[in-house]
């Protein structure tokens, strides 16, 4: 069993109104960042877990996302990184 740090991004599903993202977009436009299109505000989680290898650690975190960390109705998730501790 090896220890891993698995990072996961959880973001509002595209097409659903994201009021935080919209507020940040508007503020960036006000600051002159005219090239900014859309901003999406989500969550970043870092999960320290034991697994036999990196693939198993990632698979385990995917299951965690499906069961608890992301809402299947309104959110998408992506594994951002798997690092051996």
């Amino acid at each position: 069993m090896t220890r891993f740090r698995v990072s996961v991004h959880i973001i509002p599903r595209r097409g659903l109104l994201d009021p935080q993202g919209k507020a940040v977009t508007d503020a960036l436009h006000t600051l002159g960042f005219a090239a900014v299109g859309e901003v999406h505000v989500g969550r970043h989680l870092v999960i320290e877990t034991g697994a036999k290898d990196a693939a198993a650690a990632e698979a385990s975190v995917r299951t965690m996302c499906e069961r608890l960390l992301a809402n299947p109705v309104t959110e998408d998730f992506e594994i951002a990184g798997v690092v051996k501790e």
Binding site: Q20, N71, V73
Partner: protein
């Protein structure tokens, strides 16, 4: 009628629910701790408002795994009535007892009276109300924007599961009458079996003229009629 009121760490409307059931309806209520494994013979279970587990992760996401939720799900599966109010609605959605999800409001936290229109009366929570009846009661939430896929929304509409919509004083569903950006102005829904009901507004805070409205009473009286039927 015996009503079980579940208290999670961070619930804050369990006392209002108790007041509505015991003082206004004159019925029995029992407080159930979220770690309990027994509904103590409750006919109706209320998941009250508040901020269970501080709304950490997502509102209701962690509360749905509290030990008592297994018993609540079993009660619902047997046809027992479950009523989720505000945070309780969020918990019921997260638990899969109700379709859809409650997202962050389009414009921040809202605490205000709203008017909702009763869309269907063939549930234990709306049987004494009239279709089209408008009820005024408070909302107080930051994550109450009802959302589901278009397919799910269409199915809810065709099956008559949209029980309440936000409306203006004339009873019309307008953008201005919608306090949180909810899809199709939806304020409350029920499950396909019609025994699990969730809504964002607080009927339990509208049962006493001292608090400005008694429009919530008709919903609690519906529960009573169903229990004695």
């Amino acid at each position: 009628m015996k009503v079980g009121i579940v208290t999670f760490p961070g619930s804050n409307c369990e006392g209002d629910a108790f007041h509505a059931v015991v003082d206004q309806l004159g019925e029995q209520a029992v407080m159930l701790w979220h770690k309990d494994h027994d509904l103590q013979g409750s006919d109706v279970v209320i998941l009250p408002g508040g901020f269970a587990y501080g709304d950490y992760l997502r509102a209701g996401a962690i509360a749905r795994f509290s030990p008592i939720m297994k018993e609540v799900a079993a009660h619902a599966a047997k046809g027992g009535v479950v009523l989720g109010i505000c945070n309780g609605f969020q918990i019921a959605c997260e638990a899969g007892l109700l379709p859809g999800a409650l997202l962050r409001n389009d414009v921040g936290y809202r605490s205000m009276p709203v008017t909702i229109r009763v869309e269907h009366t063939n549930t234990t929570f709306t049987s004494v109300a009239k279709v089209g009846q408008c009820l005024t009661m408070p909302i107080a939430h930051g994550e109450g924007r009802y959302a589901a896929s278009d397919d799910v929304l269409d199915q809810l509409e065709s099956d008559g599961q949209v029980l309440f919509r936000y409306v203006n004083a004339a009873g019309e569903t307008t953008v201005d009458a919608n306090p949180n950006g909810a899809m199709r102005n939806i304020a409350g829904v029920c499950n396909a079996a019609r025994n699990v009901i969730g809504l964002m507004p607080h009927p339990e805070r509208a049962v006493d003229l001292l608090l400005g409205s008694i429009d919530g009473l008709v919903l609690f009286e519906s529960l009573l009629v169903a229990a004695h039927a």
